[in-house]
């Protein structure tokens, strides 16, 4: 249906998208300590070096801690607020929603700067708490949207049926509502975790040396060294992400989550 020209255009553009990933993969296997093209000799040593580098390892640890806490807290806040948005009316409801969604538009460097100065002003130590608080604010809109969409698609008759059979509101919530919401909850949590783990700009402002997340560690490395260790790390990153997304597509249906399924 697209025709030859259309197919060619699409393939060229997809090529453009893959180009950096392909190039970085080739560069990662270069034996020499230069970013050269194409590699003359091949070696795994940059992968070994990247995996052993202490800053990268602590970066992964810190990143997992922050992402785990931030997405879990965001899930709690987002789910409770989605319920309130859908089923309860209270004054300033739309204002509160707008404030929480504003982190989508406000630049991350502004939010990062704000949390940095705020922490300095109220004497808050630059530990994990600041970073997690900042990340919660940044990923909340995504969790909120995911859960809210699931909630809207929920057939309330099922809940009413359970209630009419004698279940208390708490029991309805636990045995009917939450299990039906599970895809939205899991999808939202996963998206938040990935975004938090990869978040760079705000993290650059609010993390300190000992709470440095992986993207910040990588940025510091690139500024000082030019060897292919970063290329090796990037390849690991790309493989991990592509695998995660393929699995997510197979089990959750990425198309549905991102709302790009077409009407048939």
């Amino acid at each position: 249906m697209l025709g030859i020209a259309g197919t060619l255009a699409v393939l060229t553009i997809l090529g453009f998208v893959i180009l950096p990933a392909a190039v970085v993969t080739l560069a990662a296997f270069n034996d020499k300590a230069l970013l050269a093209f194409p590699p003359e000799s091949w070696s795994w040593r940059w992968f070994a070096k990247a995996l052993a580098y202490e800053d990268f390892r602590s970066g992964v640890r810190n990143g997992l801690i922050v992402a785990g806490w931030a997405s879990s807290i965001a899930l709690l806040v987002g789910t409770t607020f989605a319920f309130a948005l859908d089923r309860y009316s209270f004054p300033l409801k739309r204002t509160l929603e707008a404030v929480l969604l504003s982190s989508l538009i406000v630049p991350h460097f502004t939010i990062g700067l704000g949390f940095l100065i705020l922490a300095a002003q109220i004497g808050w130590a630059r530990g994990f708490a600041v970073v997690i608080a900042c990340h919660v604010v940044l990923v909340l809109p995504f969790v909120l949207r995911s859960v809210y969409v699931s909630l809207r698609n929920l057939d309330q008759k099922l809940e009413l049926a359970a209630a009419s059979l004698g279940a208390s509101p708490a029991r309805v919530l636990a045995t009917v509502t939450l299990p039906l919401l599970a895809p939205g909850l899991v999808g939202g949590w996963l998206l938040a975790a990935i975004l938090s783990f990869n978040e760079f700009t705000a993290s650059l402002f609010v993390t300190a040396q000992r709470t440095q997340t992986l993207p910040v560690a990588m940025y510091n490395y690139v500024r000082e060294y030019a060897d292919p260790s970063m290329a090796a790390l990037s390849v690991l990153y790309i493989v991990a992400t592509a695998t995660l997304l393929t699995l997510a597509n197979a089990y959750l249906g990425l198309g549905k989550v991102l709302n790009v399924e077409s009407r048939r």
């Binding site: 998208v17 607020f81 509160l96 604010v137 809940e159 970063m230 077409s262």
Partner: protein, 283 residues
């Protein structure tokens, strides 16, 4: 369903988060109006000095450059993303659909640093493009591609593409496919059917995509920082240099406030410009 009282407590966690965000924003606003005390993290008394300093040509230029880069990126991304979104929605084969989706969306989840670094390897003096051109004998010496606006915009388009594809695909997916078929059955060729039916109906998606791309690009930091290398500066880079490198929090704060005001002004402008196109969307 009648509202249940326990939902009242469900509002508190969200209210707490909102308070946190507002506190951070208020701090930025507050610091933008206070004087800079060199060598200290504390700020002095109230003053408008930070904002009047923004009018200096040096800083005004950064604002203009930022807006220009954002518009350029949004426009180029639209051109490049539309075919992908169209292919994604109209592909019949499930595997092809999945492949396009994953390829288009993966860059989004790689994080700024990995993406930007990959572009350095492509665009650098020893990088992919220069190596290929040198090997083919098309050039004698490496082209200086890094540290130019072209390089920064290319990398930014790559960054913004997934978001634009998702928004366009969502809009295109909601257009009834029978409209285009009806146009073709009335004698229009596929190109004419697309231009007169599908394209106008996708206008809300285009506007949403361009708006998001603009706001997204405005927030970019790693790409202009590493690929611009100090020669192509956006507002984000200036805030970083002044805030984290010189610890001039007040001035960094005023830059942020001015940047925010600029973003809201331009987004509002976009909304006004888009209003006559609202009637094109599906009803």
């Amino acid at each position: 369903m009648k509202p249940q009282p326990f939902l009242r407590t469900f509002v508190f966690p969200a209210a707490l988060c909102a308070l946190g965000l507002l506190a951070a924003m208020a701090t930025v606003l507050q610091y933008s109006l206070r004087a800079y005390v060199p060598g200290s993290l504390e700020a002095g008394g109230l003053t408008f000095d930070n904002f009047s300093a923004l009018l200096k040509p040096l800083y005004a230029r950064v604002f203009i450059d930022t807006v220009w880069i954002c518009f350029l990126t949004a426009a180029c991304t639209l051109l490049v993303a539309y075919p992908i979104a169209y292919a994604l929605v109209h592909a019949q084969n499930r595997l092809i659909k999945a492949a396009i989706l994953i390829i288009a969306v993966t860059p989004l989840f790689l994080g700024e640093v990995v993406r930007t670094y990959s572009w350095i390897v492509v665009l650098g003096n020893n990088g992919f493009i220069n190596s290929v051109l040198l090997k083919l004998g098309l050039i004698d010496r490496p082209l200086q591609i890094m540290f130019t606006t072209f390089a920064v915009v290319t990398a930014l388009v790559h960054v913004t593409l997934p978001v634009m594809v998702i928004m366009l695909a969502a809009a295109l997916a909601h257009i009834d496919p029978t409209f285009e078929k009806a146009a073709q059955s009335l004698g229009a060729g596929p190109i004419r059917a697309f231009l007169t039916v599908t394209l106008p109906l996708s206008t809300p998606g285009i506007i949403a995509g361009v708006t998001t791309a603009f706001a997204w690009t405005f927030s970019a930091f790693a790409t202009p920082q590493l690929i611009g290398g100090g020669q192509v500066n956006m507002i984000s880079n200036l805030v970083y240099q002044l805030g984290l490198a010189s610890f001039n929090f007040p001035f960094a704060a005023s830059l942020s406030v001015a940047g925010l005001a600029l973003t809201f002004a331009i987004l509002s402008l976009l909304r006004i410009v888009a209003r006559p196109f609202d009637k094109f969307g599906p009803h």
